[in-house]
Structure formats: C-alpha cells, structure tokens
C-alpha cells in the first residue's frame, strides 16, 4: 500500500535512503512529503518511529491520495 507521510520543514533528498527509499518531495507550504510503498502496519510504525527519533515533527499520515479506495490492507 502506498503511504504519504507529511513532516514539518524541508528535508534534503539525501534522506531518501534513510527512509527506506521513500520519495521525498516538498509541499507548497514548506513541508515535506515522504511517499512510497509500505509493506504493513509494523513497517508503517517503524517509519513513524524513525521520523520521531530523528527529531522531526509529524503532520499527517495516510494512504496516498491517488491510491485511496484501491487495495485494502489488514
């Protein structure tokens, strides 16, 4: 399932490996979007922990807009 994690502030693209290959893009209001496939809930929570432990601020988490309504995930 494709997830989108929004964090506050701008993140350099070099962080993509750190976040397991998620794509890093900037939003208009100066935040960063991490977009990419997340295998399961455990993987999702692991990602969120990484965000937290790196000192970043979490804004929102959810399935990718374009992906919503497609596959269900347990």
């Amino acid at each position: 399932m494709i997830y989108q994690i929004k964090i506050k502030g701008l993140l350099d693209r070099q962080w993509t490996d750190w976040f397991g290959g998620m794509t890093i893009s900037a939003t208009e209001d100066g935040d960063t979007l991490l977009t990419g496939p997340v295998e399961d809930q455990a993987a999702l929570h692991g990602l969120l922990k990484k965000v937290r432990d790196s000192g970043m601020s979490l804004v929102s988490v959810g399935p990718s807009e374009s992906d919503r309504g497609r596959d269900e995930m347990g």
Binding site: L10, R52, D53, S54, G55
Partner: protein
C-alpha cells in the same frame, strides 16, 4: 537466566556545567513530589534528561536512576534492572529477585519491601519510549497502582506511555511536563545564547532564532555552537531563518563542517556504536593518529553531542538525536557501515562482551560471525540472557540464508525450544534435514544429525513421550560429536527423565549422573542443576540418604542464587533427609529456606514444604499446629489446583489425627484419597490388623516388582506393626529385621519413631532378641527423647526423667537399695523420688504406681526384665 547488570544504565547523570537554570520547572518538579508520578513527555531535544538530573542534584531526597533500552522490554530483565536501581537507595532490597519475571506476587513482595524504606525517595526511568512490551507496561501499571507513599516515580519519555494516565490525572496523582513547558522561554533563550554561550546577540537576532527553532533546545544549542564558528553571526541567523530546511539537519551539517577532518571522521564512524569508550573507538578507526579517548574528552569538553555514562570518563554515548543524524549521514557517505560493525563486533568479542558482539555481527550481516557468537564456546547465548535478540535475528533471516547453513536451522529450533515454544520446532528441524541432504557426509553433518535427534527428544519430553525420548536420545548420543558437551549434557538429562517416566530408576540415575558430570565440566549450570535435582530424588527413593544429601549440597554450591527452582528442590530434599535423620533443627532451617524461595515461584513445592513443616511440628509435639498448617496447605492446593499434593496432605493429616487420638476423623480423610498406606494405618489404629495386612499385601508385590525401595520400606514397617498387633511376634520381628537392614545404611530414624509407642515396644522386643543392636539402641534413644512430651503432656504433674527412670526400675522389681546402687545415688534420694512419684501418680503403693504407670503408657509394654 543470569543477568549481568551494566552499571552505566544505573548511572545518575551529572548536571551539565553550562545549563541554563530553570527555576520555574524545578519548582514544578518539587511540587510534583506530592503525587505518585511525574511524567515528562516530549520529543527528543527538549532537555528532559538535563532537567531531571539538575533537579535531582539539588534535591534532598535520595534518587535512583535507570536508563532504559529496547532490551528492557524483556520483563525479567526489566525487573532485574529495576531492583538494581532500587538498591542504590536501599541496600538489600529484592534479595533473590534475579532472573524471575514480574508476577503479581513477586511485585507485591517487592512493594512491601519498598514500603519499609524509611525515607522518601525518587526513582527515574529515562527513555521509557524504548519499552514496547505489554508485560512490562502491566508490571509498571501494577506498581503505580500500589505505589508505597514514600516512593516517587519519574518517567521521561518521547511519547505518552501506555499507562492509565487519564485515571492518574483525574485522581490528581500525576504531575506532567510536556514540550510546551520545556521549550526555552524568550528569557531563557537570551540567557542561554548571550550568557552561557557568550554570543552577545541583539534582541531581534535572538527573536529570529527563537521563532525559527520554536524554543527547541537542541536546535538552539546547535545554532549556538554553529555561530561560535561563524564570523558573521547575524548573517548566519538571517540565512538560517530564511531557509526552510529541517532545522536539525541544517544545523548538524553546519556544525559538522566546522569540525576538523579527523573529528568528522571520528563522529561518523563511531555513530554506529550504542556506547563508546576510547579503545572501542580506536578499534573502529584503524589507522587514526588521534587516540579515541582524547577525542571523546575533546567532544565532552566542547559539549558536542556527547553524554557521559559514568564518573570515570570511560563510557559515553551520543545524544540520541545526534546519533540518529550522524548515522544517517554515515550511511549516505560510505558503504562501509558493515565494515564498521564488524570492527566493533571484533572488539567486543575480544573484550568478552559477546552479546554486544553479536548485535554488531548481526548488524554487519555477517552470518558466520553471528552464528559463531550465538553458539558461544559450548554455552549458547540464548542461555545467557540474549534469547530475544537471537530469536529476533533468526526470524529476520530469509529462508535461503538458513538453507545455505543448516546449522542455523538447528540453532533456530534450539532457541525456539529454549524460549518455551516447542510448537514451531519440528518444522525447523525438517527444514534442516532437507538442507542437509545436499551436504557433505562429514563429522559436522553427523553432529548436526545428532543435534536434530536431540531436539526431537526434547520436544517429546515436553509431551512426556518416554519411548520417543529414549529412541531419539540414543540416536543423538550416537551421532553427536564427542566434544559437543553442551548437547550431550541436555540429551543425557532427557534420557534420564525418560527412564524416570518409565519407572526405571536405576537407568535414570545413571543418565542423570552423566548429565551432571558433563554439565559441570562444560559449565552448563542449568542442566547440571536439573540433573542434580533429579538424581537426588532418585537416590532418596532408593533410600540412599547420604549420597542424596551430598547431591543436594553439591547442587546448592553449583547453583547459587538465580536458579530458584533447583535451589528450592535442594533445600526441600535436604529438609526431608534431615527430618529422617531426626535432626529437626537442620530440617527446619532448610524447610524455611525452601519456603522463602518457593514464595517467588508459585509452584506446588510451596505446598510440599508446608506439609513437611507440619510433620516437623508433629514431631515436636504440636499436633494442633500441624493440623493448622495442613489445613492451610489444603486450601492453597485446592485454590491453585495442585492436585498432586492433595494425597500427601491427606496422608499427613491422617497421621496427625491418629496422633491426636481421633481415628474416626482419620478414617474419613483416608477414605477420600487414594492413599492405601494411610488407610492401612487407620485400620491398624482401629484394631483391625488383619484388614491392614490384606490391604498391604498386593501393594507389596507391585513395589517389589518395580524396585520402589522407599515405598517398600514404609510398607514393611506397617506390615511389621500389623503382625505384632495380631500377636504374631515372630513374623513381625522378621519384617522389622528386614526393614532395619534396609534402613540402616541410610541412617533412617523418623520412619520408625513416627510410628509411635507400638513401634517402641516392637523395637524393645527386637533389642532383647539382639537384632541389629546398635541401630536399635539409637532408635530407642530417639524414642526416649520423644516420650516425655507425648501422652503425659496433658498431665500437669509430669514425671521428670529421673523419676521415670526410677519408676521403670521399680517396675522391673528392683528394691530401693538396688535402685540406689544402679543409679549411683543415696537411698534417701531414691525414697524421695518415690514419694514424689506416688504424689504425681496419686497412688500410695509401689504396685499401684506400676499399674497406673502402665495405664498411662509410661512403661514399655515388655514385661521382660532387661539388664
């Protein structure tokens, strides 16, 4: 499992020299002391640890500190560290609480001990967010619910813990500091930047920084460090404020760039380490000219990223936030992360820290090294407190990796088994066998085949399938490498248990002895303990009391504190044996030790112990006390469903009731359980020796066939007594003689004395016939020591020992003169004794005295004179 306590986790961090004083927060923390809990919940970089350590340094209350890590999610480990932390406040607290899980009864016992601490104290749990396990959270919730009034708990965390916070808030039992409270206020920011860091910034510059960092302390700190290296502070602030990058990322880059090349390399390469010391850093930076220790001290002095873990300048760690960022950078810059981990692993191994070495080997993805470290030198890591990380790693490996190394499949199966999950084991073993099909048929493969069989034997053991256990164990012992002591030990143990299940005590004894010897030689204390316990019990059952006592003592020496079950069994065994030897004080001591340890285990041995203590009371002439203990034991056994103990309790109750002269009640108890020997005893007491013999005969046959020596001995004694009651003295003496012969090597005493006056008189008969005179005399002495307390206890005018002696000689027909000569006293003394005897017995003449004494059972029933 034995747990080595790392002192660094208990170290109370020293307050930082250049910290901004935050009196308003200190005041709030002090107010919080009125509550049970102070929760400090904020993301990284808000100065939580700094604040708490500052507060503690200035507080008058003693404080304990525990820095948590992921491994503390293991409840047993968590409890061990909690107790270790508490010990800094109260020296001997939680004795014996090592290697046990935090069950409610253990926590309650601990809480009671804590409640006894006379002064109020604080305990800090730092980095609580690293705990991620329900059992630990439940234990902590339990502690909080029943927190003793003088204990104050502080939890510092990056996320709200899974504790009943809403409830605590509602009840006013919690004080909280959150990010909003912890941010630097504009005043504090000014204090920090201008006074502490000496930057001398203008007000609007400070405001800009404050806005950009939102008072986030970590950000301000880095900004300050960064600005010290910049000529143009205002320029820096402008570009910093103008950028929208992730604050810390930006700043760390700045600060790093300002460091000399070798420091940058140092920081990046050592970022993979959980904790740092000089030599370890040197290992990870081969070819570096600067010493690791010197660099660490430089970083500490410059207040760069580093936190001290002790007072000796030996161990440090990076501030968590920076460690993350450094790691991220390190990964980006070089593909050599694996190499770094390997270097670290090697250093840890060289310094005997195998669990850390394993972590780094796993991180380096160095399968071979990791596997080697797991195996240890015959004593696998999962026996030494690293069960969770080992399993975790094995679970993460793809099947292909495991197939390439079949021994890994076996290790996987082994650790599953040891962690108490026998269900998944067979599948892993089959995978191992499949992978082995394409392997070379050499010694290593043979060894693995043997190991697989050993595992199958263990799985069968968890289901009590004796035949499979024997077959697989034999196969294992055939194929296992002769030097593979670790697996051989456990296989011998399994074999012993299998023989025991089949009732073949002799073979079991041999297997256990082997297991014990190899176990001790290979340093496997757990197996040695298990084997010794079983061996001792077998020796006891063979009436070999002296070897059994020796085995139990050896067991206690080997085991020490942590392995409770074994120590419990050993003390119980020794208590039983000393009881038999009629050393009641020693028996009492060991019974108390057993009871104390059993309290923490919640298994039926605590009930068995109570039964033994009841028998001790009975032996000391306190049947009421014995009955009370047995009633309580019965309640516990029924409540906890310890059905195995019920027959033993009943047997002891029968004994007690008969002793109290209540055969009817004894009969009732005996009928309601399958305890044929007690039933026979009751029949005997009610004057039906024929019935008793009829009951005992078929059982005797069974016992002879199975060589159950201990039961057989008891039975022979009962048969002897029954025959005597029928008047068949010759037969009775024959049985008694056999029993005495069997019992003498073991030094049994109470097995006879517990049978009371009937046995006493039968023994007297045996003595006159010259049957085993030394042993018989010893037993008679034991009886004499008992008698004064027994039947005459109800008589307020008890005869003294001396008076009894005189009375006995009177009953034998001696004149006063002869008595005075026999006892080496004067005639008038003898007459004086006689007077008092007549008074106490309320008679006027010798003949009356003799008759009355017989009635009261003061004299042995033998009327024959003995010299």
């Amino acid at each position: 499992m034995p747990e080595q306590i790392l002192a660094t986790k208990l170290h109370v961090p020293a307050p930082r020299p250049k910290a901004v004083p935050r009196p308003r927060l200190i005041a709030r923390l002090n107010e919080g002391l009125h509550h049970k809990l102070t929760l400090i919940s904020a993301p990284a970089g808000f100065g939580k640890t700094t604040l708490v350590s500052e507060w503690i340094a200035g507080s008058r209350q003693p404080a304990a500190w525990l820095s948590l890590d992921e491994e503390d999610s293991d409840p047993t480990r968590f409890l061990a560290y909690l107790v270790a932390a508490l010990r800094s406040v109260a020296a001997n607290i939680g004795e014996g609480v090592s290697g046990v899980p935090p069950t409610e009864s253990i926590l309650t016992a601990l809480l009671n001990e804590i409640a006894a601490i006379p002064q109020p104290f604080i305990i800090v749990l730092d980095d609580y967010h690293l705990i991620d396990a329900k059992p630990v959270e439940d234990a902590l919730a339990f502690l909080l619910e029943h927190l003793p009034p003088r204990m104050h708990l502080v939890i510092a965390t990056r996320e709200d813990p899974r504790l009943p916070l809403a409830r605590l808030r509602a009840r006013g039992q919690m004080a909280e500091l959150r990010a909003a409270d912890l941010r630097f206020t504009p005043a504090e920011t000014t204090e920090f930047l201008n006074r502490m860091m000496g930057l001398g910034l203008a007000a609007d510059d400070i405001a800009a920084l404050e806005t950009r960092t939102e008072g986030w302390i970590a950000g301000l700190q880095l900004a300050a460090i960064s600005m010290r290296g910049h000529e143009d502070a205002s320029g820096f602030i402008r570009s910093f404020s103008g950028s929208h990058g992730f604050v810390l990322d930006y700043l760390v880059e700045e600060v790093l760039d300002q460091q000399p090349e070798n420091v940058q390399t140092f920081l990046l390469r050592t970022s993979i380490l959980e904790r740092l010391c000089g030599p370890l850093c040197d290992a990870v930076l081969p070819g570096s000219s600067a010493s690791g220790q010197a660099t660490l001290e430089y970083l500490e002095h410059a207040n760069l990223f580093i936190v001290s873990l002790d007072n000796e300048r030996r161990w440090y760690r990076y501030h968590h936030l920076f460690a993350e960022l450094l790691r991220q950078r390190q990964q980006r810059k070089a593909a050599s992360t694996a190499e770094l981990h390997s270097l670290a692993s090697q250093w840890y191994e060289d310094n005997g820290l195998e669990i850390d070495a394993f972590h780094h080997a796993a991180a380096a993805n160095d399968i071979e090294r990791a596997e080697r470290l797991i195996e240890g030198k015959g004593m696998p890591l999962y026996f030494r407190g690293a069960m969770a990380p080992v399993l975790h790693w094995l679970e993460s490996l793809p099947a292909a990796v495991l197939d390439a190394r079949p021994s890994l499949w076996v290790t996987y199966a082994s650790s599953l088994m040891m962690s108490g999950k026998p269900g998944g084991v067979e599948r892993k073993l089959q995978a191992a066998e499949a992978a082995l099909r394409s392997a070379e048929p050499d010694g290593q493969t043979r060894n693995l085949v043997g190991h697989i069989a050993a595992m199958r034997a263990l799985v069968a053991a968890s289901r009590n399938e004796a035949e499979t256990m024997i077959a697989q164990s034999r196969r294992a012992l055939e194929y296992l490498h002769p030097e593979n002591l670790a697996v051989r030990t456990i296989t011998s143990l399994t074999l012993g248990i299998a023989h025991q299940l089949q009732g073949d005590r002799a073979a079991a004894g041999r297997a256990f002895t082997e297991a014990m010897d190899i176990g001790q030689a290979s340093g496997n204390m757990m197996i040695t303990a298990a084997a010794a316990t079983s061996l001792g019990q077998i020796q006891e059952s063979e009436n070999q009391l002296h070897p059994a006592a020796e085995t139990y003592r050896r067991l206690l020496q080997v085991v020490g504190d942590p392995a409770h079950m074994a120590a419990c069994e050993a003390h119980h065994g020794l208590a039983r044996i000393y009881y038999q030897w009629n050393d009641l004080d020693a028996a009492e001591r060991h019974a108390q030790q057993c009871a104390r340890l059993a309290q923490q285990i919640e298994c039926d041995i605590s009930v068995a112990c109570e039964v033994l203590q009841a028998r001790l009371r009975l032996a000391r002439g306190d049947p009421a006390g014995a009955a009370a203990l047995l009633a309580r034991a019965g309640e516990t056994a029924r409540a906890s469903n310890f059905v195995n103990q019920l027959p033993h309790i009943a047997a002891a109750q029968v004994h007690t009731l008969l002793h109290q002269g209540n055969p009817a009640a004894a009969a009732q108890v005996a009928q309601s359980h399958d305890i044929p020997m007690s039933q026979a005893r009751v029949m005997l007491a009610r004057g039906d020796p024929a019935g008793a013999l009829a009951l005992l005969e078929p059982i005797r046959g069974r016992m002879d066939a199975k060589c159950w020596h201990d039961e057989r001995l008891k039975l022979m004694i009962l048969q002897a007594l029954s025959l005597q009651a029928q008047g068949n003295t010759d037969e009775a003496l024959r049985h008694l003689g056999d029993a005495l012969a069997l019992a003498q090597p073991g030094g049994f005493v109470r097995i006879f004395v517990d049978e009371g006056p009937r046995m006493a008189s039968l023994l007297a008969e045996a003595a006159t016939k010259g049957i085993m005179p030394d042993y018989t005399a010893r037993l008679q002495t034991a009886f004499e020591a008992e008698n004064p307390k027994s039947e005459v206890a109800t008589d307020p005018n008890q005869l003294s020992r001396r008076e009894l002696e005189v009375l006995r000689l009177v009953a034998q027909g001696l004149s006063n003169q002869e008595i005075s000569e026999r006892l080496f006293v004067s005639l008038s003394t003898v007459k004086g004794h006689n007077l008092r005897i007549f008074e106490k017995l309320q008679v006027k003449r010798r003949t009356e005295a003799i008759a009355r004494a017989r009635e009261l059972g003061l004299l042995r029933q033998s009327t024959r004179t003995s010299s």
